[in-house]
């Protein structure tokens, strides 16, 4: 099968890779590039655990072909901390005990980040809507909702 050259940035770093045609971005990131923060919960677009940000949009990496990402800017949860300091969303998830097994956490954080990027001061309903494509087995969601609301508040305080 033909290998397809693909260039993109991952968390700001330039990548140039050859992928087999049909490789999902999820498998490309995890198996080829070694960024295991996106998780494969279903590989069919129903759990949200594989969520990444592509050119500012929330996308399911299990339903995105790597070959379509030429020239894209991709962000994953492993790229959020800066110089060892956690991103406010990561901090808020820790402080709110919003993660147990952690399998849903990177996807939740990606979904929350896109929400806060577009809607810095979200209502609870906005948060629920933004997380509605992400499944969590462990937490009962409420701690996650609270973490996102807390991160939004701390962001707006920092901005003020």
């Amino acid at each position: 099968m033909a290998k397809i050259p693909v260039q993109f940035t991952l968390n700001g770093a330039e990548k140039a890779e050859f992928f087999d045609s049909g490789t999902t971005l999820l498998n490309a990131l995890r198996d080829k590039i070694g960024d295991t923060s996106p998780k494969g919960g279903c590989h069919q677009g129903t759990c949200g655990a594989c969520s990444v940000i592509i050119d500012g949009e929330l996308r399911l990496s299990c339903l995105t072909l790597a070959e379509t990402c030429n020239g894209a800017a991709i962000t994953t949860t492993s790229g959020l901390s800066q110089g060892g300091v956690l991103h406010p969303l990561q901090r808020a998830f820790l402080d709110a005990f919003a993660t147990q097994c952690g399998f849903c956490t990177p996807g939740m954080i990606m979904a929350a980040k896109v929400l806060l990027d577009h809607t810095p001061d979200p209502s609870r309903d906005d948060v629920v809507e933004a997380l509605s494509g992400n499944i969590c087995r462990c937490t009962g969601y409420e701690p996650i909702i609270q973490a996102v609301l807390t991160a939004a508040r701390s962001n707006s305080q920092n901005a003020a």
Binding site: L131, C138, T139, G140, P143, I144
Partner: protein, 334 residues
């Protein structure tokens, strides 16, 4: 046709561990040359917080800060034996094993310190901050760091301990059938309020109020997080989740998240959690297993609330709109 409200209550008790061929967990504890302590286990942390709890238990027993303890749950091929993480047994079984191992390690640590300070080991105590002091004369002290160095480089001792916790297999009494299949019961009670649409059969859980009696909460925030998640899971079991939603047979069961349903962040009942701490006699620092039991009482409470709302007893899970409508139809034709 109307939306009808109902309220249901249910109480449960829930055992810790299982009566298989005996229920053992073993643990090893040893110090590094710098006086940090390793706990080696085969018990698995799958998100419930086993590593944190075992570090707390080991630290409390040896008398060091929790951050001086590293827990390795590495590998069932090489670690001390554990039956596994199931049946809410992790904290109870592994915790008891860790206490035993940590006590033995603490004893060696105090013996080495006694040689260094030229006193009896029984005259020594820890300050919880990483030092060992002479009781009644705390100005005579030695750091655990120095004790570990001495053990490793001077005295040729291993500051280590072995822990073994076993609940032996229980067989039924031939005459009476009586047996002890499990230990250390946790308890819970839930009151659920629901709305049932008697036209569509749809159930909305408005509130769940839970009380859990879980022995001592060794880490209250982690206990709370598990209980909140468990309460949600109980509702999910009551109303949605099943691997066999379609008849006539298994082949028609759900195979993915489109068919295996769970409530999402938009479907949350207002949830209240109250924790009662009644330390158990045989648990590590009084703990019981809060893991699985926290997802149980919501199920009968919701079933009872549905009965209170529309007068039908659903005795098959999950309580789907279809089951409610069929029961209502049968009720009407009686």
């Amino acid at each position: 046709m109307a939306i009808r409200r109902g309220r249901g209550v249910a109480a449960i008790n829930y055992p810790t561990g299982m009566n298989l061929g005996g229920d053992p967990t073993q643990a090893l504890v040893h110090s590094t040359p710098t006086g940090n302590f390793m706990v080696t286990l085969s018990s698995v942390d799958l998100g419930q917080g086993m590593k944190q709890i075992m570090a707390q238990i080991c630290a409390e027993t040896i008398g060091v800060p929790t951050d001086r303890v590293v827990v390795d749950t590495a590998d069932t091929d090489t670690g001390p034996h554990c039956m596994g993480t199931f049946a809410s047994r992790g904290t109870h079984r592994a915790g008891n094993a860790v206490i035993q191992a940590a006590r033995e390690a603490r004893q060696v640590m105090l013996e080495v310190a006694a040689e260094e300070l030229e006193v009896n080991a029984s005259d020594l105590d820890t300050d919880g901050q990483g030092n060992i002091l002479v009781k009644g004369a705390p100005q005579r002290s030695i750091s655990i760091f120095d004790v570990a160095l001495s053990a490793h480089f001077k005295r040729g001792r291993s500051i280590s301990g072995r822990g073994m916790f076993l609940i032996p297999r229980s067989y039924p009494d031939k005459e009476t059938g009586a047996m002890k299949p499990s230990t250390c019961y946790a308890h819970a009670c839930t009151v659920a309020e629901v709305e049932v649409d008697d036209e569509t059969g749809e159930v909305t859980v408005l509130t769940v109020k839970n009380v859990f009696e879980i022995g001592r909460a060794l880490n209250p925030k982690m206990v709370e997080q598990q209980l909140v998640g468990g309460s949600w899971m109980g509702i999910s079991h009551a109303l949605y989740e099943t691997t066999e939603p379609y008849y006539p047979d298994r082949d028609h069961g759900g195979t993915d998240f489109n068919q295996y349903l769970m409530p999402g962040p938009g479907d949350l009942a207002q949830t209240e959690i109250i924790v009662l701490e009644r330390p158990s006699a045989d648990g590590p620092f009084g703990a019981k297993g809060p893991g699985e039991m926290c997802a149980n009482p919501q199920i009968p409470a919701v079933a009872n609330a549905v009965f209170d709302a529309v007068g039908v007893r659903i005795d098959t899970l999950p309580i789907t709109p279809e089951r409610i409508l069929r029961a209502l139809k049968a009720q009407a034709s009686n």
